[in-house]
């Protein structure tokens, strides 16, 4: 459908810029690159359910946090790091599939609240199940005693790999029957069912996809920081931030969410460093301005025109 080449070129260029940071920049820049990659993966994951399917999901932090906890608990039981991440991914994906079977029956606002509630519930359950999770004390993970540069490089590549995996999944889905069906559901779920789309299964697939990479990222993040606790692992703010990133770049586009994540993280960097007391407010102003002047996201300048035309005639 879309011409493939510029897309791949942009993708490869972006990943290269991130991957080569260790060659020319200090550890903090490398770290920022890793964070960009991590949020890129989260936003790209969200895109499956929020962008393609049009379900306003706010579960990202739940999947991220659960991934972190499953990974941490595995590692504390002596399971090697890589395997722990894999287990976290699988467990959380299964959890998302089950959960999706329940809450995807909701639509619109109700789904939005349901998915936020999942984050809160996960936090509450994790913090009261202290025998397994340490409750409010949090969990320590085995400290990795590598030199900081090596460690940083390692996690940069890990996060990049997760990002890449999520992007490849996005491209595959976009070109497949699944992607097409999800877009139909986005447009009109009743009509989608009427042309023969098994909407339940499709939505669960999208929700599960949106959970998997978050879980991997969460587990990797836990190994990286070496300590997790319920409040920091299940943050509503994080959930909303990921959504903002995806919107900023362009929900429903392939590269948009990752691009949005990069732009958002870099803006945040800029404001923290320069405005000690007002950084949050300035970021707020930026969000407001973006909504006004770039409502469809950075990538949607073209799609915008089409959308406008559609909106005028959209009712009947």
């Amino acid at each position: 459908m879309k011409s493939g080449f510029p897309l791949y070129a942009a993708l490869v260029a972006g990943l290269l810029v991130l991957a080569t940071t260790p060659l020319y920049a200090d550890n903090y820049v490398v770290r920022t690159a890793a964070i960009v990659a991590m949020y890129g993966a989260l936003a790209t994951s969200w895109n499956f359910i929020g962008g393609f399917t049009g379900y306003p999901s706010f579960s990202t932090a739940a999947f991220f946090g659960l991934g972190a906890y499953v990974g941490a608990i595995c590692q504390r039981h002596g399971i090697p790091m890589g395997l722990a991440w894999a287990i976290a991914t699988v467990v959380v994906a299964a959890f998302a599939a089950l959960l999706g079977g329940i809450i995807l029956r909701l639509r619109g606002h109700y789904f939005a609240i349901g998915s936020i509630a999942v984050v809160e519930l996960c936090r509450l359950v994790v913090s009261s199940w202290s025998t397994l999770t340490g409750g409010g004390d949090g969990l320590n993970l085995p400290l990795m005693s590598w030199p900081p540069e090596e460690l940083m490089r390692f996690f940069l590549f890990v996060m990049l790999a997760i990002l890449l995996a999520s992007l490849i999944a996005t491209i595959l889905v976009d070109r497949s029957r699944l992607g097409f069906g999800l877009r139909c559901i986005h447009q009109n779920e009743d009509a989608a069912a009427m042309v023969g789309i098994n909407t339940t299964v499709y939505k669960i697939a999208a929700y599960t996809l949106s959970a998997m990479f978050c879980a991997t990222a969460g587990a990797a993040y836990a190994s990286w920081t070496g300590y997790i606790d319920p409040t920091d692992s299940f943050q509503i703010v994080m959930t909303v931030k990921v959504v903002v990133m995806a919107l900023l770049g362009g929900a429903g586009t392939i590269l948009g969410p990752a691009l949005g994540a990069a732009a958002f993280v870099l803006l945040e960097e800029l404001f923290w460093a320069n405005f000690l007391d007002w950084n949050r407010a300035i970021l707020g102003v930026v969000i407001v301005l973006l909504i006004f002047f770039l409502p469809g996201g950075l990538l949607s300048l073209r799609a915008l025109r089409r959308l406008r035309a559609a909106k005028i005639g959209g009712r009947e």
């Binding site: 009509a191 009427m194 042309v195």
Partner: protein, 252 residues
Amino acid sequence: MIEPILRLDGVSKQFGGLAALTDVSFSLNEGEVVGLIGPNGAGKTTLVNVVTGNLRRSSGRILFKSEDVGLQKPYQAARRGLARTFQIVQPFPAMTVLENVTAGALFGAGAGSLGDARDMAMQSLEFVGLDALADRPAANLALAARKRLELAKSLAMNPKVLMLDEVNAGLNSSEIDGALALIRKIAERGVTVLIIEHLMKVVLSLSKRLLVLHHGQLIADGPSAEIVADERVIEAYLGAKFAARLKELNHG
């Protein structure tokens, strides 16, 4: 005798206290074109919704090729070949006309790949005469074109039974002629068609057999000519003046 392709057996549907359908039984034979008429609020749309699984029947059996499909989901109905159009058209607004129809071919007809589906979709667009608008967003179409899009989408699903809920409403006479020709062509392909319409001209020129719903009950089922002369039907639906006009036309 050949087996009916669709059979309803004592189907009822209640909304709270309101009986929208009461004990409705009839069957459609393969390849038949049947009209379904009835006053506003008689339960025609509800009947279609019950057959395609958009609503769950309260009681009774719905048999598609002798299989009880009373509990099916809408997507299952679509895959079985039970297609419908909506009285209030339901396109995928931000997608192009072609993409809309492709969805029908891909999921309803089970096309092997996106490419195949697109080819099938293009054929069905040509069939209904919308091919020129293939790349327009569906939201920008005027009513008539939207109704035809709805038809094209259903056709691309390769249906066995097609239920048309007022696809001709809002069209003017010459457009209706075009639509009639189109529906005839569809029927010629062997598709069973159930037409719901208030335009007697359409119903009468397409179907030899009519079903009449009134207050959720099937009050008549038979050859068209007999039905329009039926006192109860005139009383409930056509109105004296219109019946007179019809008679005049038939004579003249």
